[in-house]
Amino acid sequence: MEMHLPRRRLPYLLPHLLPSQLALPPRSLLPLCPQTRSIPIPPMALRAIASRKTLAALGSGLRAQARLATTAAAAAASRGLVTFSLPDLPYDYGALEPAVSAEIMQLHHQKHHQSYVTNYNKALEQLEDAVARDDAPAVVKLQSAIKFNGGGHINHSIFWKNLAPIHEGGGEPPKGSLGWAIDADFGSWEAFVQKMNAEGAALQGSGWVWLGLDKEFKKLVVETTANQDPLVTKGANLVPLIGIDVWEHAYYLQYKNAKPDYLKNIWKVIDWKYASEVYEKECR
């Protein structure tokens, strides 16, 4: 018996990866019927792909890798596919020292996050092909690659926004409504930080520890996710405010096995501007 997959827009197949979670311009909702492939490439996507600043940020040794990723992305884009690209950091790699070393920031951004972006784009292209040829088993098989790599891209994009150099406000606890909400929901700032650190330290293997907002109940929660699962996999109503990467690559070169030391120190560069904006928007 043949399985007929409805020709749906991609977001239908990926309900857990909402545009709002991506902190990027919303994806164009491109119909996937072959006869409508001549859709103009969304201007934002093109700009992101070809961003000179992104290319300039890469060292000479990475130009080849970047060229490859950009070429593949451009090729996919020319087929009407939206592709994703590595966001720039709004600070230098060394700007978060001594809390997080420049070496870690560079590897984390240019290698790990870039690899998630590249593989996410690849998986989405393969998904589009599988849907187009009605290959349901292939579609299902691609879901884990999409979750790993798409989740990696989502999570790291939020993470970079959660960090800032000390002279730009990194380390300062939140004021205003989010600050009060932390006191209300956790008892005190100290109790909140302690809970985040305890959950982060206890996490086995790779994953993230989150401060999230349950937007249905307007309550703050501390949650962990495994591997690159986005926070929304723990609850459809959960909106990530602060995420701390506790994969070993996030701290190992500097802190080695002392994960608790990393967790203690990263608060010195955690920035609350993005979190406050999201919180205020959701709680309006």
């Binding site: 690899s115 790779s206 690159q228 994969w247 070993e248 190992y252 080695k256 096995n257």
Partner: protein, 262 residues
Amino acid sequence: MATATVAATAPLSNGFLLRRGPNEGAKSARSLQRTKNQRQSASSRRFGAAVITAKFDLKPPPYPLNALEPHMSANTLSFHWGKHHRAYVDNLNKQIVGTELEAKSLEDIVIQTYNDGDLLPPFNNAAQIWNHDFFWESMKPGGGGKPSGELLKLIERDFGSFEKLCEELRAAAATQFGSGWAWLAFNPRPSDGKELLVVKSPNAVNPLVLGYIPLLTIDVWEHAYYLDYQNRRPDYISIFMEKLVSWDAVSAKLEVAKAQAA
């Protein structure tokens, strides 16, 4: 390359993918092969008013910490064995004090606390002790090369060729997302006659919990390779296969496995 999710009789809370030779789809054997009950050395020492009974010891690798240079640095060994492995031992000893697990062998603790996938707290520490003991034994100075004898025969029977086995092992190690391990394991009751299989597992899970007998493992937690290779896991895997793997150890374990299965 075909993959099959394990159709275990109990749901696994962690995904567990099998990579097999050309003919795949064997039902997993749920029988649990127990090795001889290992008597761990028990030493007591007084610490203030409390008596601490150290149940398990931190076993050193069968070579000095710098013996695997330059492929795996002494620096890595000093943290990986000296800190990570040591912490699993210390933490398990604390966890099992005053419990029924104190009287059991490490392997029995691993299987019991796996609890059909609903992991009990001591599982991570127990399994990671077991896995790391096994990992150090899977390597040797001047390792690499090819297996021989009975092991090579079985590899060629079940994978087609040694090269095909290497391909599957590398792929399993490279695609185990997040933290985990890749294994060559022995299935004592294969329904399709293939006794050797490649398995990958997340975090602390190992093939013992499926009733397989591990023969070889490579640790792909980031702490295993990050100091030497940073994000380049594929390079680490290549070096492991070309310069570190101890096929002698694998052959020895295969002999034991076959004797037990007989």
